[in-house]
Symmetry: C2
Subunit: 355 residues, 2 copies
């Protein structure tokens, strides 16, 4: 059986509707017994030997020739073919997300619509809306959330990333006192006489300890913790004129630039939801978060890793893969906080998916 | 007991030699019974209550005052104090790496010399030569190898990274044929008729497969694999005039800039040692490596993750923490390949250490 290429679409006559559409979910019916299939679908039919060749004017294309012709005619053809073929092998029916095809998508950004296992194109709600990219693409964070990213790496292996909006379920009720005093020392703040509960229940800072030390109430705060406390009126600095929050922010900007303000915005947004953010340094993230801290002695597992990025951030898929892989390995959700300084925060969760 | 600050060093008289040096490894003897201790050591003695205060001219400093004075006088004082205190708490003796102190180090870069557990300062070979940095420091890769990096994060927790030169123990003996022909399609190369063993034993590329496909010999190569094969004379391109390696490199540079040349240099250096580099995308690295591949069906665990960096690369400690943490989680060594294009490769292994 052959197909006929016309205006970028392949028409297949004969009993194609029954054989390919009804039975196996390829293409879109043409009214009668013939169907139209996309180039990706046609290549797959050639690859499997279901079609012998594609006719285009006077040319006859076999799989290799049609693949090369399509790769030069269509954006990301090879990538989309690889993802299409793999998902079919995994037992899914899927359609190109284009007008006139089953389950058409109103987003220009979606490439493939995948139906739940056991259901056919156009039946019910799609299981995944797939965006196909190469590992060298730049992926705008603002376009994610609700779609599944299929990243084809340089060796043509595919990683799937599910994207969604996280919900935080904070329940940390500790309130810091209003009378803390600290010293700004390089890029940290030391509160020499911290009150009971400040570390143990609020999980602010880190005690300055040593075996048999005579000083046991000193707590070191990160600049972002200190700036957060100062902004809410809980902390003053010794030996500093003017508002403490400004002095700390100034130091923060001196050591890490405008990124400090964005991190502070995210820190405060989390604390305001009764979530405790602590440094994510050991995981290469900005923060790890605890929904509910009652006592540091009985600390729960931290639920999320948070990386703070600019509001118009675009992901390098390899860096995304690194973050998401690490988070999965330590059983945490990877959350990106998109924000400018002093602005609203948009949240995005990305997780690995094995369809 | 008190100390006397003079020229940045604290002198302690009385029976200090017996009490602090002989018994507990603080400072360096002065000839008689008195000793000299560094500011970090003096602060630790104050912190533990072993000294009451430090005299400097007319001033008497308690722990808090001496800490603040030292922090303004000495580079990274707070960081070095934190590392010193933690390592002592873990049962190590350690000395500041400075002239006149036991175990003095000839590197200006080392901050602290740590002795093996159970041995005293100056006895035998140091267990660790410690470089103390804050998480916001920029750490030149070329200075590492042989030292232990103690990174103090923004919340004053400490991560230790051991650095060394890796050895590869390659034993992959497959030789590719000289007659491969491929098509350059976007950012990959397809060899339509690959010979037996090319993928199965050489672990080159990735088969283009689908269930029940009629085509079963097509293998997709990454650009770096293809350029490596072309450079060694094993691969030509269909429909391309001129040397295949130049066409592939040009495509490589078009999609990832000069980084492509550096990655190719590292790829070829590994293959020349009979090590198989495959993409490290799923781990966020450039490559994962296999010392000895006999058959892809019976693939060993890959031993290393390799990230390619510039010859003058400086690490952001947080990114370093991310890479090393991930590698540890998947039981691989994290290796950095420092190189310019077409230049020698310097290798650096970094691993987490719990002293």
């Amino acid at each position: 059986m052959n197909g006929q290429l016309r205006d970028g679409v392949v028409e297949i006559a004969g009993n194609a509707r029954q054989q390919f559409y009804d039975a196996r979910g390829y293409g879109t019916p043409d009214g009668g017994n013939s169907i139209r299939v996309s180039r990706v679908e046609a290549a797959h039919l050639l690859f499997r030997g279901d079609l012998d060749y594609i006719v285009d004017g006077g040319s006859h294309f076999d799989f290799e020739a049609f693949f090369l012709d399509s790769a030069s005619a269509v954006d990301r053809f090879a990538l989309r073919f690889l993802v299409y073929a793999e998902l079919r092998d995994r037992g899914f029916y899927l359609s190109p997300a284009r007008e006139g095809w089953p389950g058409e998508d109103d987003s220009e950004w979606t490439d493939l619509t995948v139906y739940p296992r056991g259901t056919k194109p156009g039946d019910g709600k799609p299981a995944h809306r797939i965006v196909v990219v190469g590992e060298r693409a730049s992926v705008p964070a603002a376009e994610l959330g609700g779609v599944t990213l299929a990243v084809v790496d340089e060796e043509s292996e595919i990683s799937y990333f599910e994207t969604s909006q996280p919900e935080f379920d904070g329940g940390t009720t500790y309130q810091p006192p209003d009378s803390l005093a600290g010293s700004l020392i390089d890029d940290r703040v030391v509160v020499w006489d911290s009150p009971d509960g400040f570390f143990d229940h609020g999980f602010y800072g880190q005690p300055l300890t040593a075996r048999e030390a005579i000083v046991d109430s000193a707590v070191q705060l990160s600049l972002v913790e200190a700036a957060g406390l100062a902004a809410e009126g809980h902390l003053d600095l010794k030996d500093v004129g003017g508002p403490a929050v400004e002095a700390i922010r100034e130091r923060g900007r001196a050591v890490e630039g405008e990124r400090f303000d964005r991190r502070l915005t995210v820190y405060r947004a989390l604390r305001s939801q009764q979530v405790v953010p602590k440094t994510g340094f050991k995981f290469g993230a900005d923060f790890r978060t605890y929904n509910t801290v009652e006592s540091v002695e009985d600390l729960p597992h931290s639920e999320c890793l948070v990386r703070v990025v600019e509001a118009d951030h675009a992901f390098d898929p390899r860096e995304l893969s690194l973050d998401v892989r690490l988070a999965g390995g330590v059983r945490k959700r990877m959350v990106f906080a998109l924000t400018g300084a002093n602005e609203e925060v948009e949240w995005l969760t990305v997780s690995r998916l094995t369809p």
